[in-house]
């Protein structure tokens, strides 16, 4: 199937009434949850994960994807109006978006963020189509050793790149790998680490884990702070109109941000948050008057918002073509697909063209809906920031419980959410990143299977990982990353003892 046929086929899937309905539902729910400060895309996807059990796999993936990029649109609203990042990906938008709002240009900042997000997504879609075809042709040559080495590289990259405390990040990954190994061992049928609980034979429930780590822990942390929000300014449609000067400054920033975002989004371990920070740094460096940044420079809104949206789309490249999620949100997506019996991998483009092309086209439709819907509806999103959190969070608690229960009618799973939520809250308080735990949890069984297979093929000789050129590259890159972060830790230690 070539690209044109694929896109036409994609339209036939994405325009199916059920897929279209869940696409709209996904982007609207994503924007809604993204607007609420403190609850990010991770929590949004976790909350809607149980719903996907009731719908077709195409609609499920389209909806969860819509939640993800919808949350990016919504996150910018709280960042600009209240200087509270709605999502981590839009944290950098506060730097210039909020000053713009203080200068009475909140509408222009919102316009810039939405148009830039849209353009970034469109460029991300092109990159996704081009890279996915190329990578899935390459990946047919991958063996078990290559897969295992690549996943380990992904985990190490996610926990060392941009991390100030690599040891804590790696600990979360390893804890996730351990939790992923709970349940029946596929090779031997032995019950591992279940401690006699029959409910844990199938492993720890992904939905319970995600809800406990993200839903519950984030609610607890937000109750105290939620009431001292300032009230957001009123934004009318007329205020959205940018000046000619704004329009002149935006395209370059959007183009550079999209290029950065779609590159780093496709790499394992670097996602949309890092892309938005890099884009901001780049815009400030190349600006003729860098002192404008922080004072309401429109490039500081346009660039990062384009970057995080294009990264959100291109992050699907490794997830769909290799079956390897590059960041924790993609791990959740992969988990949702596996629940539906769809195993993404190099053969998916050929075997399930409806999934791949349907998703690609739905990205385009979903982003168009967001642009068309959000510009007129901006008043509604702004007024949602006025709903006190004390009305919302008890409803979210109830929704979490019933969502988990709906998966398999198990009260045990609700109790598990309480336990995981307590652990998740403690982890968050000790500044451990639970998102990395989830990444390890999803990748763990895949790594173990491929590792065991590779060692069997290699007759028990670990050198098999260095003899194959593809896996050798991954192993060398992994070692280099670990060495670099050890070197960084050593230098910090030396500078502190010297001072």
């Amino acid at each position: 199937m070539n690209t044109v046929e694929g896109i036409l086929h994609g339209f036939s899937v994405a325009l199916r009434p059920d897929v279209l309905v869940y696409c709209v539902l996904g982007v609207v729910m994503g924007t809604f949850i993204g607007v609420l400060p403190g609850i990010g895309a991770m929590a949004a996807i976790s909350l809607l994960l149980p719903l996907t059990y009731y719908i077709s796999p195409e609609a499920a993936l389209v909806m969860l994807g819509g939640v993800y990029y919808g949350a990016q649109y919504g996150g910018a609203v709280a960042s600009i109006l209240l200087r509270l990042p709605g999502t981590p990906q839009s944290a950098i938008t506060t730097l210039d978006g909020y000053p713009m709002a203080r200068q009475g240009r909140a509408g222009v900042a919102l316009f810039a963020s939405m148009v830039s997000s849209f353009c970034g997504s469109m460029i991300g879609i092109v990159v996704l189509v081009v890279l996915a075809g190329w990578l899935s042709r390459m990946a047919t040559r991958f063996g078990a050793a290559d897969y295992a080495a690549m996943m380990v590289l992904g985990l190490v990259a996610a926990s060392t790149i941009g991390s100030r405390r690599p040891a804590k990040a790696l600990a979360m990954v390893v804890l996730g790998l351990i939790l992923g190994s709970v349940g029946t061992d596929v090779n031997s049928g032995v019950q591992r680490l279940t401690f006699g609980q029959t409910q844990m034979m199938d492993g720890i429930n992904l939905v319970a884990l995600a809800m406990g780590l993200f839903g519950v822990a984030e609610i607890i942390g937000n109750i105290r702070n939620a009431e001292r929000e300032g009230s957001p300014p009123h934004v009318s449609l007329r205020q959205l109109l940018p000046t000619r000067d704004d329009l002149r400054r935006m395209p370059g920033a959007v183009a550079r941000g999209s290029a950065l975002g779609s590159f780093f989004g496709a790499l394992p371990g670097t996602g949309s948050t890092i892309s938005s920070f890099l884009s901001y740094a780049l815009e400030r460096r190349i600006a003729r008057r860098p002192e404008r940044f922080g004072q309401g420079a429109i490039e500081g809104v346009a660039g990062p918002e384009a970057a995080n949206n294009s990264a959100a789309i291109s992050a699907f490249v490794p997830t769909l073509t290799l079956g390897i999620p590059g960041d924790p949100i993609m791990a959740l997506m992969l988990g949702a697909l596996v629940i539906h019996g769809v195993q993404p991998g190099p053969l998916m483009l050929e075997a399930r063209p409806d999934m791949f092309w349907g998703l690609v086209v739905s990205f385009g439709i979903g982003n168009l809906i967001l642009l068309v819907l959000n510009l007129p509806l901006i008043g509604i999103w702004v007024s949602m920031l006025r709903i006190p959190f004390r009305w919302l969070y008890p409803a979210i608690v109830v929704f979490v419980c019933l969502g988990v229960y709906s998966v398999r009618g198990s009260s045990f799973d609700i109790a598990a959410v309480a336990v995981i939520g307590a652990i998740g809250y403690l982890l968050a308080m000790a500044r451990f990143n639970p998102a990395l735990l989830l990444l390890g949890f999803v990748l763990g069984p895949l790594i173990e299977t491929n590792l065991r297979r590779a060692m069997l093929i290699g007759r028990g000789d670990p050198m098999v990982f260095l003899q194959r050129p593809i896996s050798a590259v991954f192993v060398v890159a992994t070692v280099a990353l670990i060495a670099a972060s050890l070197w960084g830790a050593w230098r910090r230690f030396r500078s502190r003892t010297a001072a």
Partner: protein, 149 residues
Amino acid sequence: MRRDWHDLWGGAAMTAIGAFVALYSVAQYDIGSLRRMGPGFFPVVLGALLAGLGLMIALPAWHRAGEMRPFDVPQALAVLAAIGLFGLGLQGLGLALTTAGAVLIASLPAPRRGWRWRLILAAIITVLTWLVFKQGLQMTMPVWPDFPG
């Protein structure tokens, strides 16, 4: 005493979990060989790795001052108790009472006094829950307690 207590306890917990997983797996499961790994191989290696990482986190924290962050104890207890009530009560008490009770418990630490808004909120959420999950999604669960007779 100026120490980074969060990292100290966090690292110690990681070491404890890792050591427990590794030792338990050595005792309970077959390790196998490098060529044919048994079910115990992966957990043992990971447990040892986690124990080592825990030490790397905890040891430097002994000589370092960390910021103290207060725990939101009432908030955490209320939210977890509400979820616990759901897990234990849904089958016996039914959807309506469990939802209303969970909302009342969860809203206890909210920074606004008074019972009126809490009761109104509980009523609204209970009706919405019944509409969405029972009428809409047709989930199988009791709505009211199962009184004998």
